[in-house]
Symmetry: C2
Subunit: 324 residues, 2 copies
């Protein structure tokens, strides 16, 4: 399986014709046909067959197109990426759990970028369990989220980033709020309610997931939303209760109408950590961020309520998966 072969295949799929693909590539028709034959033999699938009105992809070929065109594109990307690395600003690749990426990370990185220096920061989302691998594989410079430790975290160094208190909130109209103005609730008693959570709660290592397990909430009473904001919005609409870092729902300019429930054992005192390779193996940019994190500017930025960013600075989130 060669990049040349994949490129030929992608072009045939795109154009629906071997001859046309050969013309586009500037080679003879058998060259393309041969590349196709080699792929077919190695993968054990026809991939693409003659059909009325052009070549048509088999189910296997259909899956391959996407994969193959990504590979081809990454190949040309590689060359230009390296050319552009000369004299380009240093790059800081930060990964965070979805909750951190939606709450404190943008403000932290915005403040870090605004502090001068010539570092271009990017923020991606990954699950807690993937972070150690991403750092060790040099696919990320800093990971923000749970503390990474144990077997898989060899060579990594975690430092505390942000202290927060995890509470459970609900709309003022929620029965639990009206019944219990001041009385204490037990965690167990919350097992029967609907919990509104964000994507991070699907990560078995996340504090929210562990809280759900501890309470014993059945799957049927867990409702996963694509973002923290969406989960809280549903909570305001009275659809259920939601775990949340306290400062995010209370300092929020007064617009939020969510109130913390007085639950025994809550709030949980928790920490987010920043992790990177230890010692000299740490990227210079990662070191700069680590030093910045200790400054009052950083702490102040992370405690500020959530704000949007100007269009020129907005980058869509990138979700990173580990490829093995």
């Amino acid at each position: 399986m060669t990049l040349t072969q994949l490129e030929a295949f992608v072009l045939v799929a795109r154009l629906g014709s071997v001859t046309a693909a050969a013309r586009t590539l500037g080679v003879s028709e058998p060259a393309v046909s041969g590349a196709l034959a080699a792929l077919r033999q190695q993968l054990g699938d026809a991939l693409i067959e003659r059909g009325s009105g052009g070549m048509v992809l088999t189910p296997g070929g259909q899956r391959l197109v996407g994969i193959a065109s990504q590979m081809v594109a990454l190949g040309v990307e590689a060359e230009s990426a390296i050319r552009q690395a000369q004299g380009a600003p240093e790059r800081l690749r930060v990964v965070a759990t979805s909750t951190v990426a939606e709450s404190v990370a943008p403000a932290l990185l915005a403040a870090f970028a605004g502090r001068g220096g010539n570092i271009e920061a990017s923020l991606s989302v990954a699950s807690g369990v993937e972070m150690a691998a991403l750092l060790q594989d040099r696919l990320a410079d800093v990971a923000l989220g749970p503390r990474l430790s144990g077997e898989t975290a060899a060579g990594l160094e975690s430092v505390p980033l942000f202290r927060y208190r995890l509470v459970v909130v609900a709309a003022p109209s929620h029965p639990l709020v009206r019944l219990n103005g001041s009385a204490g609730l037990t965690l167990r008693s919350l097992a029967g309610h609907t919990w509104l959570v964000d994507a991070e709660a699907t990560d078995p290592a996340s504090p929210v997931r562990r809280l759900l397990d501890h309470v014993g909430v059945p799957e049927s009473h867990i409702s996963v939303f694509p973002s923290l904001a969406a989960a809280w919005s549903a909570a305001e609409a009275g659809q259920g209760i939601a775990p949340a870092p306290a400062h995010l729902v209370t300092l929020d300019g007064g617009g939020h109408s969510l109130v913390p429930l007085p639950v025994e054992g809550l709030p949980l005192e928790l920490l987010w950590y920043a992790t990177s390779l230890s010692g000299e193996r740490r990227t210079p940019a990662a070191g700069a961020l680590h030093r910045f994190m200790a400054t009052p500017d950083a702490t102040h930025a992370m405690h500020a309520p959530l704000r949007g960013v100007p269009p020129s600075r907005f980058r869509p989130p990138v979700y990173v998966t580990i490829w093995r």
Copy 2:
């Protein structure tokens, strides 16, 4: 640039040692060293150099690691993907603009999946301008969002999916609401206010972006949030005004405290479309979704208020970019 060479490079970066990489691959050390040399020569960058305590990546090498490990992983992915294509459920790859992906698309696809059949649907996010290319390159089966037409949409067919009315909302406490209980506002008069928008507003072809341009809102008064829910949450907190499809903010179970502004020229009557390859080139799964879209079940699902999904069905969003 060969996959073998890239794999060797990735392993060296991961392990920080040529010898260790060679041991892992089960080949001699010069084999790895040679692969590295070939890459270095072709790309014109040292990529990775000796440093105290292991090999350390150059800036260029740092960029390559991510790209290369993706390519390698996609290579092994390719083989297994094709093996699994035998007898596996048919695949339906849907791309949508971020707004659609956050609002009607999840409900539509959930209803489509629940309708029986043996189709596995996935939902990704792309900008409106990329959709035509994604469809033509067979990287997606159906695109949900603006109507695709013109030069770049050759061979594509758009059908109306969902009619909605775009309004501008604000918190009840917002000055515009208190001053204008019933009086009409002009669009121009909104240019000086802060607009809270989601990611799609950065796409020049999106209706929201065109509305902003038409009103003449300066960049400094646009605040981009990572999700619709986050933008609306900020609007509730009184941070500004937000464009929104009417049914999403009004039917929302009463929890939302956002009210539409009585603006001259609003609401805008708009449509989201579903686009796919035309005629026989359309995937069977895409055809099934097209037929389903016309059923009352589909319409009903899309009009329902936003809800979360059970953890077992939650899939993190994937953001797709076009590689050329």
